[in-house]
């Protein structure tokens, strides 16, 4: 027996609107159109950001009770846990202090050596700290939401790292929040370099393999890889800065029937439960520093700098020709030093240049530095 009601308003007899079936067809077609536009053509970014901005207060409201419970439970941590954590933090700080003091000296050495080898200077990447708000609820992908967005100057494509390594990449920027696709997501791939051998390859996310992991694809069965090898970003992509640790090789399966080995890696960053992350600016979007070598008209921004450099070059060339070749090395650092220092302020004002030359720039340096090491054992 259906429930009777005291409702005395007469239901509309004739003005029923379109039938349920026609509504179903209309809205299903709309939904399918949206899905195709999202998955294939990536056209729905405006809709997402508009709906996301409208929903932001609701999301904020939904976040509060969870944050209160999580924050409230922290008050009841016992003293020993807190003391242990502080001790660990102090130990980590002490071990890092030693490395930090070495790093300054090494950075100077590196700059000098790069000038000697006439390599492009490495760029320093500015970063912005962000807090992880929550894991995206979608169980079919691996994404997190952070509390920095368009208003804080986050751009899509920015690499995101945490204390241990690369965590992922910003894939969607809303007004106040951003969405980060983790390295274990199936759609994310990172160009990496084996720090032991210097071999470059690409690591793909593989969320289904043993919880959460990554995979190194298209590596020959006879490739020089060992379990425990550290993979760091190679920097050839123009997105990630070079040399940030990504993953460690966990297991290698070499099969006789396949030309490729299956290589499973474990990401170093805490992909589940990270609290604070650092959003870096994509390397390709940073201002270019001119190469010490001239002959590249794009690299130099101001005429003054150009003229200065040309005159310097001319001097250098003249000297090189006139004097004996043995004098060259001693001559060069003196020549290059003002050049390397001078373009700094100029390039920050310079417009962004296409990343093509920059992408290729770190390559020879990295390869040159790594090859001898790889061959020697």
């Amino acid at each position: 027996m259906p429930l009777g009601t005291l409702d005395r308003t007469a239901p509309p007899l004739f003005n029923q609107g379109p039938s349920a079936l026609s509504k179903l067809i209309l809205f299903s077609a709309l939904a399918i159109f949206l899905m195709v536009a999202d998955a294939r053509f990536h056209l729905v970014q405006p809709i997402r950001s508009v709906v996301g901005t409208v929903l932001y207060p609701v999301q904020w409201l939904a976040l509060k009770p969870v944050q209160m419970v999580l924050g409230g439970s922290k008050y009841f941590d016992d003293l020993q846990t807190a003391q242990r954590r502080e001790e660990e933090a102090r130990k980590a700080l002490a071990s890092q202090a030693e490395r930090a003091s070495q790093a300054d000296a090494m950075a100077q050495d590196n700059a000098r050596l790069r000038a000697l080898l006439e390599l492009r200077q490495t760029t320093l990447t500015p970063g912005r700290a962000a807090e992880v708000l929550y894991d995206a609820a979608d169980p079919y992908s691996r994404k997190i939401i952070i509390d920095q967005g368009q208003t804080q100057g986050i751009v899509p494509g920015s690499p995101v790292i945490d204390a241990d390594g690369v965590l992922g990449q910003v894939t969607l920027v809303n007004a106040f929040t951003s969405e980060v696709t983790l390295v274990i997501d199936r759609d994310l791939s990172i160009p990496v370099q084996n720090t032991r051998t210097g071999a470059r390859s690409v690591a793909f996310g593989d969320a289904t393999a043993h919880g959460a992991g990554m995979e190194l694809r298209f590596m020959g069965a006879n490739a020089d890889l060992r379990e425990g090898d550290l993979l760091a970003t190679s920097g050839v992509d123009g997105v990630y800065p070079a040399g940030v640790p990504v993953a460690r090789i966990d297991r290698i399966e070499r099969r006789a029937d396949s030309a490729f080995a299956r290589i499973y890696c474990m990401p170093l960053a805490t992909v589940s439960g990270a609290r604070y992350v650092l959003v870096l600016a994509p390397v390709g979007q940073q201002a270019l520093r001119p190469a010490p070598l001239s002959g590249d008209p794009l690299a130099v921004s101001k005429k003054k700098e150009k003229d200065k450099e040309k005159s310097d070059k001319a001097k250098g060339k003249g000297k090189g020709k006139a004097e004996k070749p043995t004098d060259k090395p001693s001559d060069k650092p003196a020549d290059k030093a003002p050049e390397a220092a001078a373009p700094k302020p100029a390039t920050q004002a310079a417009p962004q240049k296409p990343g093509a030359q920059q992408q290729s720039a770190p390559k020879p340096g990295a390869a040159a530095a790594n090859k001898p090491e790889g061959r020697s054992p």
């Binding site: 259906p2 409702d7 349920a20 809709i47 939904a62 079919y140």
Partner: protein
């Protein structure tokens, strides 16, 4: 209509504000950032089916579509995935609304199980076609939990309409 005491109670007219508030609260509960849980029941789908069955003139398929879009954006899922699944749910609720209320509560729950199963199947199929990761077999639990929640949803959401028509000292509510 022949009224038998204890068997049938006339419901008060629906307060539309309560209906919208319940939809909003269900969306809010769905948006609680509890992490990536495959078996999480979709409370918004449950409430949409409930009002689709009880008030088919008020909750239309278009409203279900709009709530679906909101869920897609919030979960950063494929845009249109929840919209399609909720549209289907709204349509199916309209289809069964004349039949369903003749049955007792637990039979009703059994009859809405295929609806929830279909909606989760649509989402799973769409995402696997779209290149998503298989979320694990616990995703099968979600429609079962939603079905189990149907009697509670009925008791809770019809409670304001079950109040006394004329409140007095003995029946203040």
């Amino acid at each position: 209509m022949i009224m038998r005491p204890g068997q049938q109670q006339l419901l008060l007219p629906l307060n539309p504000g309560f209906m919208w508030a319940s939809l909003f609260v269900a969306m809010l509960l769905n948006m609680l950032p509890l992490g990536r849980i495959a078996w999480m029941p979709d409370l918004l789908a449950l409430v949409i089916v409930f009002w689709g069955v009880h008030q088919p003139a008020r909750v239309s398929i278009g409203i279900a579509f709009m709530f679906g879009l909101a869920m897609d954006v919030q979960q950063s899922a494929l845009l249109g995935q929840h919209a399609l699944s909720y549209t289907t749910l709204g349509f199916m609720a309209t289809m069964i609304h004349r039949r369903l209320l003749w049955y007792p509560l637990f039979s009703q729950a059994l009859q809405v199980l295929p609806l929830f199963a279909l909606s989760h199947l649509i989402e799973l199929g769409l995402r696997l076609i779209g290149g998503g990761v298989f979320p694990g077999w616990s995703v099968l639990l979600a429609p079962l939990i939603e079905t189990a929640l149907w009697p509670f949803a009925t008791i809770l959401l019809l409670a304001p309409q079950r109040r006394a028509p004329e409140p007095d000292a003995n029946r203040p509510l």
